[in-house]
């Protein structure tokens, strides 16, 4: 019989694997998880929270820059996307990072349309990831509350 904990754990495992398979997360996220331990039990959550904050800030910077029609500061956009690329790669947000690369290219070639489109995608992507990770953390919490242990998921 599947206990609640077992169920939750299975759910957790499946969900995690799906995130990797769908390309939302990559190895770096795994590394981050490894850094989490008793001393810093919420490490991953803290880091991704910071990441999403950064996303928001950088994306709005870029949107604002792109809004200056006729006088777009591509350099600013470029540096913002560079930073976003750095942080997304650091947390393992694979899709976001991929989009950052594309956005950077549009920026370098001063492709306004391309930049706008790309930025929109980045925005969607990070929000999607945010929602998914939130679900994942919720699962973790449920497991813990149910008295279980969060399973180690090997991708």
């Amino acid at each position: 019989m599947d206990t609640l904990i077992a169920q939750l754990q299975r759910q957790f495992r499946d969900y995690t694997i799906s995130l990797y398979h769908q390309g939302f997360l990559d190895d770096q996220f795994t590394e981050l998880k490894k850094l989490q331990d008793e001393c810093s039990p919420d490490f991953v959550a803290e880091v991704v929270t910071l990441f999403f904050e950064d996303c928001e800030k950088l994306i709005s910077n870029m949107a604002r820059a792109l809004d200056q029609t006729g006088n777009v500061d591509f350099k600013l956009v470029g540096s913002s996307v560079h930073q976003l690329k750095g942080s997304s790669s650091s947390v393992g947000a694979k899709r976001v990072k991929g989009l950052c690369v594309t956005l950077k290219e549009c920026c370098d070639s001063q492709n306004y349309e391309g930049c706008v489109r790309c930025l929109q995608q980045v925005d969607i992507e990070y929000k999607t990831l945010k929602a998914k990770l939130q679900d994942l953390f919720n699962l973790e919490q449920q497991i813990v509350q149910a008295g279980g242990r969060i399973p180690q998921v090997d991708i």
Partner: protein, 611 residues
Amino acid sequence: MTVEQNFEALDQFPVGMRVLAVDDDQTCLKILETLLRLCQYHVTTTNQAQKALELLRENKNKFDLVISDVDMPDMDGFKLLELVGLEMDLPVIMLSAHSDPKYVMKGVTHGACDYLLKPVRIEELKNIWQHVVRSRFDKNRGSNNGDKRDGSGNEGVGNSDQNNGRANNRKRKDQYNEEDDEERDDNDDSSAQKKQRVVWTVELHKKFVAAVNQLGYEKAMPKKILDLMNVEKLTRENVASHLQKFRLYLKRISGVANQQAIMANPDLHFLQMSSSHNGLDGFHHRPIPVGSGQFHGGAPAIRSFPPNGILGRLNTPSGIGVINLSSPPAGMFLQNQTDLGKLHHVSSLPLNHNDGGNIPQGLPLNLEFDQLYTNNNNNNIRNMNNNKSITGSSMAFPSFSTQQNSIIGAPNNNLVVLEGHPQSSPPGFLGHQINKRLEHWSNAVSSSTLPPPAQNSNSINHQFDVSPLPHSRPDTLEWNNVSSSYSIPFCDSATTLSPPPALDTTNPRAFCRNTDFDSNTNAQPGGFYDTLQTRQSGNYCPTTDAMLSSSNPKEGFVVGQQKLQSGGFMSAEAGSLDDIVNSTMKQEQSQGDLSGGDLGYGGFSSLRTCI
């Protein structure tokens, strides 16, 4: 911490190593912090470069290592790198999401000791402590053995700060040649990428000094200095590097002698120091063609003479005279500051600069420096250089060898000549000689061709042959008195020096650290200067204290002086060259890092060498 303390702490390394992490990206910073903590380092973080600088300046010894992102809004990471290297001489690791090799190269040339790509993995961080150890070892070893500083100040990763030179532990004397050769070869290989070294001729230095004077020492920033100097092909990096050395030089001398006095005639002194800094490499310098050659590509002017060899010879009691006075002074600062460990020997030694480095082996120049100068210096020098017949010339550059030694020991020794080598002439002496020499060199430089910079350290560090002429100038401060034509930054108005014909500053490494002090850096001009000033007044580096307190440094200096007075500067010692070198090296060792006024060592310790 003093060097000694540092080494003690090393026992526990890497545990507890104090790292300052700087990254404006809070996500990355958090991750970095956690990773570093996992490595058992003691971590301090900040997301602002300015804050980082403040923390570093607050207490120079508070951190062992700095890790910094490249792209930061308030200050370019490379700039921070430069500043840290200049002011604090700490190893700096660059961090970036840019994997573009040109960024890595930039990191290297700015002195970073490593360059990591984001996302950073813990494996990479586990070994970063090596940079701290290496840097300390280099410094320590350098001072002890007078090892030549590695031209790799900007080691693969750069850092400037990191100025971690790869110290060459080998005995200078014996191995220098080999090392230099190797390095030179290496340098040559990569010279394609290197900028040509700038040879800081007397004129150039005068201009520099004038510019600094004009701006005010506190406020002089490389960019402004560069603008004022208005020298073609001189880059800001060159100026920054030179400025760095100059500051170090001032600090060092301030501790030993009357700073004012030195200021009075800083040019020569400084240049000498600097050249000595070039360390043995300098010896390798080929004669630097004045025209183009003012600025070495950084290639050692005197290739034929391994620094050690030359120094050794120079130090022979036989009176190493001014070696190659005619050599273009350009090589002054060709050394790569980044190589802390490296002694930039005064490759600029005038030893045969003109002709391609015919450093008269064992130039037994016992000639009275004055004599030399008074008489047709140029001619004499040239002759001397070329023919090793400096015999007549009293321009013994005992300091050459010594300096080289010292340089080796003290990466910062530009002033090859000046070292505390017993036989070497005291700085004062050098001052005089240097002045003359500088003038001479300037002339010479114009005529000689600069050899391509073979190695970073070698390069030109100091074309300026700082070879300390065992001039009978006991007092280091004599420099000032010397009627050098060098414009002392603080004293004379800068004479307008015509820029060297061809300033090849292709090799940034020539200046240890190619600091990108662009205007932005001015953000902290005060701070920077303040720091320097503070250092000057205080102990710039721990070693300085050690050095100053130790008898050797001063002794060396004094000894040199004394010797000079007795007229025996090298000639007096009939010891073998080896002995001289050894004694010099010993002196250096006792001195530890050359810093502040360690003229004995040839004065000018590079920033890096100063801990």
